[in-house]
């Protein structure tokens, strides 16, 4: 059984609670692959280097980081420093880890021309170093898992011209889960799950079947849209979108917390 865990890179994510719980489960014999984000670390490093974090808005109003040639270097280093911290923490709990800061673990295609809105007017962006994921080094992950290691993957990919690219962490996790035919993809972040009412944290949609996902997509706003896209792309038995800010977030999610998306539409079963 192989499980894939994605923890967000945002400020609100409680990394320590997650790593402690993950270590317990790995020590109990479970096989996990960990993918992490890096947004907070990248913003912090850019600030320390006096580089302004620029964002650009999509025609649909979606705001995200503009990763130009300078920012992708900062992004890659910030991702590596988060990776190194996670390696140290898990290793401190006795877990054998393999920190993979890429970029060669993930292949991606750079978006050559992107339509965006700048100062309220439409522009073509040609120097953004984000990419659409085209593949992942499954053999490397399987080699490490079979040898008893926990791969920890940074959200950095390599483009066709060998350039480093910023890729979405949730979609890396989906790609890894799909490639490994994992039994579970768990995405932990600073929200309790897919909410019926985005302002009511108690309105978590508990579970639905993967084939019904379209119906639930209009509940999703902002980052949650990417998580549902990830669930769709993973296309595996079970995806859980849950909250990292609980005492034992992984246990809680496996015991039913968060939004559970089942491929065969089984009911939520106690998983651990």
């Amino acid at each position: 059984m192989t499980y894939v865990l994605k923890i967000g890179g945002g400020a609100g994510v409680d990394q320590h609670a997650v790593t402690r719980n993950l270590a317990e489960r790995i020590q109990a014999g479970e096989r996990w692959v960990l993918i992490h984000g890096t947004s907070a670390a990248a913003d912090e490093l850019a600030a320390r280097m006096g580089v302004a974090v620029r964002t650009i808005t999509s025609p649909g109003g979606h705001v995200s980081r503009y990763t130009d040639a300078q920012m992708i270097g900062i992004y890659g280093m910030a991702a590596a420093s988060v990776n190194q911290q996670l390696c140290s923490e898990l290793s401190g709990y006795g877990v054998r880890v393999a920190g993979l800061t890429g970029p060669t673990v993930i292949t991606a295609q750079r978006k050559q021309a992107i339509r965006a809105i700048q100062n309220g007017r439409p522009v073509v962006i040609r120097d953004d170093f984000s990419g659409r994921i085209t593949g992942i080094d499954r053999d490397l992950l399987e080699t490490l898992l079979d040898a008893g290691y926990t791969p920890i993957i940074a959200p950095l990919a390599i483009g066709e011209a060998g350039e480093s690219l910023n890729v979405d962490g949730d979609l890396i996790a989906a790609t890894a889960a799909h490639a490994l035919n994992a039994d579970l993809l768990m995405i932990l972040s600073n929200v309790p799950g897919l909410l019926r009412d985005v302002n009511d944290p108690t309105s978590v949609i508990e579970h639905f079947a993967l084939h019904e996902i379209e119906r639930y997509e209009n509940f999703a706003a902002g980052r949650m849209k990417k998580k549902l896209l990830a669930a769709r792309e993973a296309n595996i038995e079970q995806v859980i979108l849950a909250d990292s800010r609980l005492a034992n977030p992984i246990d809680a999610a496996l015991a039913g917390a968060g939004t559970h998306i089942w491929r065969e539409g089984q009911h939520v079963g106690h998983h651990a």
């Binding site: 999509s58 649909g60 992107i114 339509r115 809105i117 700048q118 100062n119 073509v124 962006i125």
Partner: protein, 58 residues
Amino acid sequence: MSNNNVECLECGADVRVPGNVMQGEILKCGDCGIELEVTELNPLTIDLAPMEMEDWGE
């Protein structure tokens, strides 16, 4: 080509260029509706905007 107009590459009509035109700005030809891309500011250079473009962040 007056200093704030360019000639549409598709139909030759005059296309207005904003005073604070931006690198990569998309200018729409009022006559034929084609989209032009400002590929360079100095000198002001335009080209047909690429047909398929992704939306930012999608």
